[in-house]
């Protein structure tokens, strides 16, 4: 067995790596392109003369000058100075799952990587077949009639919905009249934010003691100004709103559309569908639930699906199939236009397709089983740790795939809060957990999500790390408060970050502000 209470003595690599702008030597090259062909030079002359004089660059950019292996080593060092899920990562609301490397390897091949979105459809039949195949898989999972993949993230899919709502209202002559979108405080912030960006007013419902807003609160919010409901369910406290069907009925009765942010799909996939609950549209995050990698924040995909009635408003082009051939249909007069250029982060869509095929119906069913089982397993063990409580403690039901916890007691007892905890957890090779969206509804919140990938041993390890942090907090809080101790760098100073005189998002700004000669 491992010593140290089962916890590893993790040490991050620390290369003390300088900023790339400080590296190199004048004249060094990392990439050369060779001399232009003599016949070309002879025909057109020097490049300079081919560009308008006023628009030529006069001063070279102050970029570093490095050889190729230096660049490689620099960025390898940076990768090693990133914990990046090499230990255990239970980052809640993001469903940390395995990103199958088979998908990585296949999508890196020229059949995907070296294709252009404007190629003739005849030359993209393979990609179109897989994209269409994945659309069919998502239709079955959701009951929706059609999916598009143009949205470059979950929030962009929420934005897509706000724009579909605009198009729908415009077609009915109600744009500008129905100008409110209803959401809940436990719905992801991207929903109200994209609704507002699309020009809607936002009405946010608060929770009652059951952990979700009451039907009365909803009824009071609905009117002939209601354009849509945007909501996620379950939420990230692990609570499922059992009245959601009635919500949808009421919103429809008031004349609004219903959008299901189904990013918290991992615990219910295969168990319930947007269609049966009555929703008009839904979205899935392929970089969350469907095995596509997160890339530290994308490239991502918000797969947006809707009913046949709304499909005419979808951003285009959409993939069409006549039984023999695939094509891209851009001739859609009612389309909302585009939320992003081209038709989506195609490799991510194909990786999600590969993941869904590898899992199949049984694997998907099993994955939601395991993620809910693992969460409840964790919950039992975490609540046994001194100083840890959960949100809505009086709700006596098994939670879904996540539970929201609180270190409020620990903080009161020891002065150690969630930020300190995060800094200490990483010392054991565990990525810091997600806390909570703002506003915080419980004190000192944190939200792990076990998902289906991690082994029982991994989950036990994570629990042991938190138990250790709690034990330290009660015994010697300074250990936690001065953490991290085993990382590439010490805790950063945040006092200058909000100060215009001191913040620096580029090396140039840093030199000007901090290294005045």
């Amino acid at each position: 067995m491992m010593k140290n209470g089962g916890l590893r003595e993790y040490r991050s690599a620390s290369w003390d790596e300088p900023v790339v702008m400080e590296l190199g030597y004048p004249g060094r090259r990392g990439m050369v392109f060779g001399e232009v062909d003599a016949a070309i030079a002879a025909k057109v002359g020097a490049a300079e003369a081919l560009l308008p004089a006023a628009m030529r660059r006069r001063r070279p950019p102050a970029l570093p000058e490095l050889s190729e292996p230096e660049v490689l080593r620099h960025y390898l060092h940076l990768s090693q100075q990133t914990l990046g899920m090499l230990g255990v990562n239970l980052f809640g609301t993001c469903t940390m799952k395995y990103n199958p490397r088979a998908g990585e390897a296949v999508m890196a091949r020229p059949q995907v990587a070296e294709t252009h979105p404007l190629q003739h459809a005849d030359t993209l039949q393979g990609t179109l077949e897989l994209v269409h195949g994945f659309d069919l898989i998502l239709r079955e999972l959701s009951g929706m009639d059609r999916f598009v993949f143009q949205a470059a993230g979950g929030a962009d899919a929420a934005y897509t919905h706000a724009c579909v709502t605009r198009a729908h209202l415009a077609a009915r002559g109600e744009l500008g009249k129905r100008d409110e979108i209803v959401t809940t405080i436990q719905t992801h912030p991207c929903n109200p934010a994209t609704a507002a960006t699309a020009g809607f007013k936002v009405v946010t419902l608060m929770l009652d003691e059951r952990g979700y807003p009451s039907l009365d609160a909803l009824k009071a919010a609905l009117s002939d100004r209601t354009a849509a409901l945007m909501v996620n369910n379950p939420d990230d406290m692990g609570i499922y709103n059992p009245e959601i069907k009635e919500w949808v009925r009421l919103v429809h009765e008031a004349g609004g559309l219903c959008f299901y942010d189904h990013a918290n799909f991992n615990g219910v996939m295969g168990k319930l569908r947007a269609r049966e609950l009555g929703f008009d549209a839904c979205m899935y995050m392929l970089h969350k639930t469907f095995g596509a990698p997160k890339g530290g924040g994308g490239p991502a995909v918000g797969a947006y699906g809707c009913t046949a009635e709304l499909a005419r408003y979808l951003p285009g082009p959409v993939v069409a199939f006549d039984g023999a051939k695939y094509r891209l249909d851009s001739d859609r007069p009612d389309s909302l236009g585009k939320v992003r250029e081209f038709w989506g982060n195609v490799p991510q869509v194909l990786k999600a397709y590969a993941w869904a095929r590898a899992m199949g119906a049984e694997g998907i069913h099993e994955a939601s089983d395991l993620s809910v089982l693992a969460n409840n397993y964790m919950e039992k063990k975490l609540l046994a740790i001194r100083g840890v409580t959960k949100s809505n403690p009086h709700i006596d039901a098994w939670r879904m795939e996540m539970t929201r916890y609180s270190l409020g007691v620990l903080k009161e007892d020891t002065g150690v809060g969630v930020a300190d905890m995060q800094h200490r957890m990483v010392d054991f090779g565990v990525d810091a957990p997600w806390l909570s969206h703002e506003p915080w509804l419980v004190a000192e919140p944190f939200t792990p999500e076990a998902g289906e990938m991690w082994s029982k041993e991994d989950i036990d390890y994570w629990i042991a790390a938190l138990a250790r942090v709690s034990e330290e907090a009660y015994r010697d809080p300074e250990i936690v408060k001065t953490a991290p101790h085993n990382q590439s760098i010490a805790k950063i100073r945040t006092d200058g970050l909000e100060d215009p005189e001191r913040w620096a998002t580029t090396w140039r700004a840093y030199r000007r502000k901090h290294r005045k000669a």
């Binding site: 940076l78 100075q81 899920m85 993230g153 989506g344 590898a358 089983d369 140039r508």
Partner: protein
């Protein structure tokens, strides 16, 4: 341990706990009678009552790979064919180490950690911002947004908030694909914070912005003038400084869109009057990925006025508690939708941050000399191609001077449509440039050809020779 109906009978390779004994042990630990019991919160009439009807599972990696490759073999690629497609997604050389670095698990798979545990990744992001800042001539750079069009959309909304005005001028020659995105970002007329998008004509001879039309349309309603160089039709906007000056005089912001790969030879927009610079990141070390390689950025002067309008994540260099050590942390995060929900600046979410790392690697590989050499090579090759094509009877280059990598080729005098020509090219292993005939009817049967460093003289001669045969 009873088997649960519908679950795999063999442990699945992606799921460590899909072993009967483990599940049983975990259930026993928590005292639950069954896995099904854990779903008690969901009312029975919400549940799907039948198994999902999905294609048969392929848990075997070997089989899955065969299936995927079998279908993808139906594609034709820009590697096996000679492609001249650009128009928002460009075929440039992707250095091998860009792929190696973005394939590292530490960068590929996670989301967030702490500034200490994510130090390397944060530094790579800062280096993306720092190097891009050098190229565009700006000191304040955000982490990337989804695309060039999305960047332009956000920048226009920033300008509208900054000026309190609600009209933006854009070139009529703008990429309709990108314009469609911008229109989506500018709310429609029926809504309170509507932004009107007005097109400024382009000069038929040069492709540049028509200054007379610009003067006529600039007004006290103008929040911003947005233009690009090189523009969609390939031309370099020679009057950038004058346009920016006029915008300033009218109290409007100047937003300039650029392809940063051109900035080894073209002037940084910060030098000729840009207030906000936007553009693409895909050319900097990211494969086309069928359009899934696109990304965008926003950069400005380091002034609070602009900084406080950014919808992007922003990462700043800072000190750590250890003297002399540097670290990186988010700045101005509270103004995003994560901090303020609907009161935040537009919205923030997952974007294309992995590509920012590819971009950082790319910029450090090229350095100042690399960008210059690359830019010169592209300019010479594209002009060579334009001249070679212009020598074909019936073929005309519409804006023959002063472009970067793309140029408009007109086929009217050949009597053939671009579609017919493209089909014939395709049969000979060549992807012709993007057909402009529907987007810009006034240009007749024209196509937008793109030539980069990946082409060589034989490629261009082959294109010219093949086109010559086709249009004869």
């Amino acid at each position: 341990m009873t088997e649960r109906p519908g679950c795999p009978s063999v442990a699945h390779p992606y799921m460590a706990n899909s072993v009967g004994a483990i599940k049983a042990a975990m259930l026993a630990d928590i005292g639950a009678p069954s896995i099904e019991a854990l779903f008690e919160q969901i009312p029975a009439d919400h549940r799907l009552r039948r198994p999902l009807a999905l294609p048969k599972a392929i848990p075997s990696e070997a089989e899955l790979r065969r299936h995927l490759l079998g279908v993808l073999a139906k594609n034709k690629t820009c590697e096996d064919n000679l492609s001249f497609l650009g128009a928002g997604c460009w075929q440039h050389h992707v250095p091998a180490i860009c792929d190696e670095i973005v394939g590292r698990s530490e960068f590929l798979t996670p989301v967030w950690g702490t500034p200490s545990s994510d130090h390397g990744r944060n530094q790579a992001w800062f280096e993306f911002c720092s190097q891009l800042g050098e190229l565009v001539g700006m000191e304040f750079v955000g982490l990337p947004v989804y695309s060039w069009g999305c960047a332009a959309g956000h920048a226009i909304r920033m300008a509208a908030r900054l000026t309190g005005r609600n009209e933006v001028l854009v070139p009529r020659s703008m990429d309709p694909e990108r314009l469609a995105v911008v229109r989506t970002y500018c709310e429609p007329e029926a809504l309170a914070s509507h932004i009107a998008v007005r097109a400024v004509d382009y000069d038929a001879a040069s492709g540049r912005l028509d200054l007379a039309d610009l003067r006529a349309k600039l007004s006290a309603r103008t929040a911003a003038i947005y233009f690009e160089t090189p523009g969609y039709l390939g031309t370099v906007e020679e009057n950038g400084a004058e346009i920016a000056m006029r915008a300033r005089a009218a109290g409007a912001e100047t937003i300039i869109g650029v392809d940063p790969i051109s900035l080894g030879v073209l002037a940084p927009p910060g030098d000729y009057g840009a207030d906000i610079v936007v553009g693409t990141t895909q050319p900097l070390g990211v494969h086309m990925n069928c359009g899934g390689g696109v990304g965008g950025f926003i950069a400005t002067r380091d002034e609070e006025r602009y900084a406080r309008e950014y919808p992007t994540l922003l990462i700043s260099i800072t000190d750590t508690l250890k003297p002399g050590q540097i670290g990186f942390g988010l700045t101005l995060a509270h103004q995003t939708s994560y901090g303020l929900r609907e009161k935040g600046k537009d919205w923030t979410g997952n974007s294309v941050y992995l590509w920012a790392i590819a971009n950082a690697v790319y910029m450090s590989l090229l350095g100042p000399a690399g960008f210059r050499e690359l830019g010169e090579r592209i300019v010479q090759q594209s002009h060579y191609a334009a001249r070679a094509l212009a020598e074909i009877p019936g073929v005309r280059v519409v804006f023959p001077g002063g472009f970067f990598k793309e140029f408009v080729v007109n086929f009217d005098a050949t009597g053939k449509t671009v579609a017919a020509i493209d089909e014939a090219l395709r049969a000979r292993g060549i992807f012709g440039g993007k057909d402009l005939s529907r987007e810009f009817p006034e240009l007749g049967q024209s196509a937008l050809y793109c030539v980069t460093e990946i082409h060589d003289r034989e490629d261009i001669d082959r294109l010219a020779g093949t086109l010559g045969e086709i249009v004869q």
